[in-house]
Symmetry: C2
Subunit: 510 residues, 2 copies
Amino acid sequence: MATQSADVIIVGAGLSGLIAARELQRQGVDVLVLEARDRVGGRMYTIKNKKSPYVDLGAAYIGATQKRVWKLIKEFDLKAFPTNEKEDLIYYEQGRVKRFRTIFPPVGGLLSWLDMNNMLRKFDKMGAEIPLDAPWKAPHAKDWDRITVQQFINKNAWTRAGRYIISDSVRLNNTIGPHEVSLLYILWHYRTVGGIHLINATEGGAQECKLVGGNQQICHRLSDQVGHDRIILGSPVVHINQMGNDVIVTSLPGLKYKCNQVIVTTPLSIQAKMSYSPPLPAHRNELIQRVPMGSVMKAFAYYDTPFWKEKGFCGSANVNDKDCIITYTMDNSAPDGTTPALVAFIVAENARRAILMTKEERQQRILADLAKVFDSKLALSPTHYEEMNWSTEQYSGGCYFLALPTGVLTTYGPILRQPVDRVYFGGTETATQWAGYMEGAIQAGERAARQVLHAKGKISEEEVEIPDNDEETKSKRLELSFMERHAPSVPGFFGMLALTGLVATLCSKL
Amino acid sequence: MATQSADVIIVGAGLSGLIAARELQRQGVDVLVLEARDRVGGRMYTIKNKKSPYVDLGAAYIGATQKRVWKLIKEFDLKAFPTNEKEDLIYYEQGRVKRFRTIFPPVGGLLSWLDMNNMLRKFDKMGAEIPLDAPWKAPHAKDWDRITVQQFINKNAWTRAGRYIISDSVRLNNTIGPHEVSLLYILWHYRTVGGIHLINATEGGAQECKLVGGNQQICHRLSDQVGHDRIILGSPVVHINQMGNDVIVTSLPGLKYKCNQVIVTTPLSIQAKMSYSPPLPAHRNELIQRVPMGSVMKAFAYYDTPFWKEKGFCGSANVNDKDCIITYTMDNSAPDGTTPALVAFIVAENARRAILMTKEERQQRILADLAKVFDSKLALSPTHYEEMNWSTEQYSGGCYFLALPTGVLTTYGPILRQPVDRVYFGGTETATQWAGYMEGAIQAGERAARQVLHAKGKISEEEVEIPDNDEETKSKRLELSFMERHAPSVPGFFGMLALTGLVATLCSKL
């Protein structure tokens, strides 16, 4: 017997689930949101600590072209501030510090730059062939899905820099090793964001801003709108039972909820946590076994003084050093400069190494890395240390999001957003713009809600996808320079040299 | 409040779980087995149909060197019979039928044979470097785990035959595409079985025998011994809650069971179906998202006459034809020749294509394939048709077993058999001999039970692994011929030719 009923039950009170709930309520549909954790927000998780009134342990950055997020920020009258990159960035490689101010670090000399530039350009060029809503239909989909990003790198890079720039981007933005992930998937993912420059950029890019008060506020405001009595915390869903026109949803505490439709907004791998009656179709049963989440830890070190700024560093550093376990750092001070802090990202293979350490060992390693990178012993003595390991989160599976192995996207991609009878699928993993980001969570939540509205006869099929006049997420501020667009690749450069030599030789003979 | 208590709760009443239960009972430990399905046996599933008193929809074959399985067969006084390969086998390629009697089909001419032979030899030679119980410690573990089998093929094969022989073996024995799976994992897997010849062979190999009455009998007999009141069917486990010395296990029907230890014997991906308190350690939480099962359907066609035998065919056929969806066939008649039948295997990519057809379409396609391969219209008119699609099984995830993507084995291998406090792990996926087979299920079930016995102080640490004087699973009957051991590879062959030419030229100059 059902404990409670609703028109629609939404699984997951992260951003995607809450947006879906609100969208449905706006059309007069009665919803209940079941959330596994004892809080809303999912991968948006803001806490306070003894040094800071707020810190984002999860999603922290707001991208320049994330229109849906900016709209919510405006609606809720929240305040964003630019991520600090006023001073120099650092490229740290095997003990050496290089200062820079560009999106990508200065790895090596001219040939390295040509190779990096060519790799980046190639990545975006290949990405441009891929349909946002159907990457499996790209002309080379099958070939690109059969190889890993590592294979692409091995085949195309001529220099250490060319190899580094792509693998670093994948480790940092996808929290996975380039040998673990399908090339097609990463090409498509970067395209949903607006390109490899945008995903890596702070100003004008994916890391442009942060929210005063932290991102989880957005979910709290949405919860207020949806109604706290409509959100049931501490209720992991264990069973979705479709029987005729009814769906009975059972939670781990053993309560049963009756509804007409379900929207599941959890990460895909977390959908394996539930039993289904009737069982899921074969492809979906296979899909949810092939959708690992990336591996990342965030560590925060608070200090009395922003010692990095005193040296002219903004706090951002690319760390390319096999003796370090941190891969990237950024300034995490409050916008007014109080509570000086650095955040360090430990990603992919390094996250898995870091997991095996005790918290004390790990803290020491991370602080020692910071001391090396910023060349200051002050880094060793923080006034407070905070860390979050997303890989222990059984209801997220990891962070930031999905990392598909070879062969999965072309085989199972077409069913990602396909309802199973009365069960619909949201969540940022199913987005076609900014997949894996807050923006994608909103897009996917809206779309899933509107699929249900269509099923209920409240809107037409054409109205399911919210029209978007500016489909491209590209950032105008990040347009490539003439050199970036036209510089030759490494073999092209040598070809030019040879040609120049030939012409010179010919001319000298005249 | 707990409904029932036991010393140890075992999750899964497949072969591994039942063996573990019996092993514990023999030492006076009180057990309860919780099984998700309404039957025991897991991937061992024997039904009867209107044409046959038994048919194995799941695990069907008993390998020559599966000592533990043979011991059980003897103990239960069951009867095995040789898989029929008395007549010719078929190699079917793009419309042409070739007869053969060897383990591997005759693809192409001399160069093809040299290349195939070299690929097979290379596979076993590389496999021999890999420790059975710690493949991540192999000298080249990291390199081999970073590439797919497809990459290995691309790099090493010189001919179409060389490419086919490895990819066909992976599709057939691992039910996965060679581009979806780690090279290290497959090399290791074949080593646990005794080599690539053994895994592919019928006589003297993995498919040597079948059981009169079907394999599920073994599980039924074990259930009788364990006691039907100790096995609770229809009870998917949704929560494992470790609290001090107690573990509380909750099933989907909402019942709670109290125990001191738990042994989980489900496939690894099915372990994602449960919630854990405290949450699983990070590595295990990541592992269970990275452990897809292969894709396979078995189809059975029953006929009035064994028309294939009348043409001198035993019923076994390698099908290498892009227009066919079947990849392998075998005779499935009763041992006395009554109820003539063929079984067709639809594997990997083809299984996923076949899923999308209606049952009628699929049946027609499969029968049409049989008609082509056996060159007989009689194949089109079976007296009965039966099929089993393991990919819809939410408590198996697929069949036959685990197919690890790149990077997983080296990263997470070391925790496969590592208990999480009071939770232990069995199941054929955790075996070190015949992993993925019934033999592996027994080995792993025994080992998990003995880990628990050791934790209870009933046996010493040295007694956990049951000593096995004959560690190698190699089959003496399958020793390679002189030619197989010494024939050159394709480049070696051309080198020899060149050398011969050189010597001849030199001699002619003398």
